[in-house]
């Protein structure tokens, strides 16, 4: 039995076996990247449209979401941001930059066991409000912080 299996592996080659596994439903295509890229959401140009594209029908402002970032960013090309949610069962954290050409910057999926906390660096075209949008238990919450930009980071 085992010898036959070897034979099949050799004959099929790596991709063939993978294709078979896919066909048999053992592996879903793109499983390594659990989800697709939400093109519609990343093309939105306002906070309201982004929220809709992310599946929210409305969001409540929450003091339990903390945005840690400089009040004034000298270089809009690199603005460090830390977002931390104190809301139970936080599932996703999205970063929206109101006055950028495209509002949505990033959407992080937080599985159970991972802290509802993330730090990254974003580009800002100009002084703008930053929205941190948290989905927790299917509901949406947000916090806002204004960051002043002295030198925009999108025009290059």
């Amino acid at each position: 039995m085992d010898i036959r299996r070897r034979g099949i592996l050799k004959a099929g080659g790596g991709t063939g076996v993978l294709a078979l596994a896919t066909a048999a439903g053992l592996l879903r295509p793109g499983e390594a990247f659990a989800q697709q890229w939400n093109k519609a959401a990343f093309e939105t140009k306002s906070v309201a449209d982004t929220l809709k594209a992310l599946g929210s029908s409305g969001s409540t402002e929450s003091a339990q979401i903390q945005i840690t970032a400089p009040d004034i960013a000298e270089n809009g090309a690199v603005v460090p941001l830390t977002i931390e949610s104190g809301i139970a069962r936080t599932q996703t954290i999205a970063i929206l930059i109101e006055k950028n050409p495209n509002t949505l910057s990033a959407n992080f999926e937080i599985p159970e066991g991972t802290d509802p906390f993330v730090t990254t660096r974003v580009k800002m075209a100009e002084t703008s409000n930053i929205y941190a949008v948290v989905r927790a238990d299917g509901k949406y919450f947000h916090a806002v912080k204004e960051i002043k930009v002295t030198l925009g980071g999108c025009g290059g």
Partner: protein, 105 residues
């Protein structure tokens, strides 16, 4: 092929603290060459972090993540000596996977 990511994963109490610096242009598609030609967008769209066969963080990114993206987060359930694997895919289908062994506190 893009340069390797620089990843650090260390225990902080009962959690694993992960810091990663990726090497990527993160071109927005808004920028123009001096000739006036638009530089096409080239940016990371999906990032997945796994530990022991489980996804511990995944992200979708737009063009406004800074060049050479940085990310910092924490997850529970890792031990020193185990591996953390990080993968990204960009809008041109280029991809890169790197892993790191979790260090002590």
């Amino acid at each position: 092929m893009a340069d390797p990511m620089r990843i650090r994963a260390n225990m902080a109490g009962d959690k694993v603290e992960v810091r990663v610096l990726m090497s990527h242009e993160m071109e927005t598609g808004q920028r123009k060459e001096p000739s006036g030609a638009v530089v096409p967008a080239h940016f990371i769209q999906n990032v997945t972090v796994t530990h022991a066969g489980k996804t511990v963080l995944s992200a979708q990114w737009g063009t406004s993540i800074s060049k050479n993206p940085f990310m910092h987060f924490r997850f529970k359930g890792g031990k020193p000596g185990e591996k953390v694997t990080i993968s990204w895919v960009d809008n041109k289908g280029e991809r890169r996977t790197d892993e790191v062994v979790i260090g002590g506190g």
